[in-house]
């Protein structure tokens, strides 16, 4: 990439930082330049976030419809996978799956709810009284 072609598009990095790019200057030698963002990269990232937001919306509706427990909602909302949530809670994947059903969720003790609340960085009431 030539130095004059370094992309300077608006992106989510705005007002936060710029990225280093290695570019060729007018003498054909490499040097670094700062880029405020690249349209193509932003589009890919936006696309990924559109998918995630759709999943969060679906998770919310599933909880409101009584198909899933709030644990499932926060799991999706915070972009976790089972390895991540299992790491924070020290619960087994199979137990977490059970807690994601409304039936399994009802049986959870205060202590276990507190563990989940801590993992999601929310307070226990938000978990018990699901409101979005």
């Amino acid at each position: 990439m030539k130095k004059k072609d370094t992309p300077q598009d608006t992106s989510s990095l705005q007002n936060i930082t710029r990225e280093v790019c290695y570019v060729k200057n007018s003498e054909g030698k490499y040097e670094t330049d700062l880029s405020s963002g690249w349209e193509v990269k932003s589009a890919a990232l936006d696309n990924a976030w559109d998918d995630i937001n759709e999943q969060i919306e679906a998770a919310k509706n599933a909880v409101l419809a009584g198909e899933k427990s709030p644990i499932y909602y926060y799991f999706v909302k915070q972009l976790m996978d089972f390895q991540v949530l299992s790491g924070y809670t020290k619960f087994w994947k199979i137990s977490i799956k059970k807690h994601m059903t409304p039936k399994g969720f009802k049986k959870l003790s205060e202590k276990k709810l507190a563990v989940y609340a801590k993992a999601f960085d929310i307070n226990i009431d938000e978990l018990k009284n699901f409101k979005v």
Binding site: S12, L13, I16, T17, R18, E19, V20, C21, Y22, Y30, T32, L34, L45, A48, W49, D51, L79, M80, D81, Q83, V84, L85, S86, G87, Y88
Partner: protein, 191 residues
């Protein structure tokens, strides 16, 4: 407190941390392309059978830590690394090293880095940054992908150092230990 630490911005975090740490120890010739080359960082992987978030597994980086290991091996540098069982001992070790004036490389989870734009905060655990000081409850952070230095509170840094999931850092810290032999060699060459 580390004296005269100079923040260097790079395109990739692992190259950046090794470049900054070694430059701080007097290896003035170190820069990102050199670290990337010595560490054999060029890599590409595409596995269509392995699916991640609905797409094929693509990677344009080698295993985290690999660039470090190979650069240090090529330069005959002893790298001290440590992982911890709990946050408190990890924090104590870091504080001690900072008091001794040693900037320390840390492996962290991106999800907990509050200075990143929200759009970039995924559960990715192989990001690297340098901690070069502490002021009150704030750690002074030199993150190589950022334009300037930043800070994180003790709680935030602890969380990032003990993020969970694939490649969980478990408080992983590292810094070059012995450079004497290399420095002597360089000196001899200059003379």
């Amino acid at each position: 407190m580390v004296k005269d630490f100079k923040h260097i911005q790079t395109a990739h975090c692992e190259n950046g941390v090794i470049t900054s740490l070694l430059r701080h120890r007097g290896l003035d010739f170190m820069n990102e392309p050199l670290a990337f080359g010595m560490g054999a960082g060029l890599f590409y992987l595409h596995v269509p059978i392995l699916k991640f978030n609905g797409g094929p597994a693509i990677s344009f980086r080698s295993m985290p830590g690999g660039i470090f290991k190979r650069t240090c091996k090529a330069l005959n540098i002893d790298l001290e690394r440590k992982k911890f069982k709990d946050e408190l001992s990890a924090q104590k070790f870091l504080d001690k090293k900072l008091e001794e004036g040693i900037p320390v490389g840390c492996q962290v989870g991106v999800y907990h880095l509050t200075y990143f734009p929200k759009e970039y905060r995924f559960h990715f655990n192989a990001h690297n940054l340098i901690v070069y000081g502490k002021e009150g409850d704030n750690y002074l952070i030199s993150d190589p992908v950022m334009e300037t230095v930043t800070t994180l509170t003790t709680a935030e840094l602890n969380k990032a150092r003990f993020s969970q999931g694939m490649l969980a850092p478990r408080g992983h810290v590292y810094y070059p230990k012995k450079l004497e032999m290399l420095m002597r060699l360089l000196l001899e060459k200059q003379l």
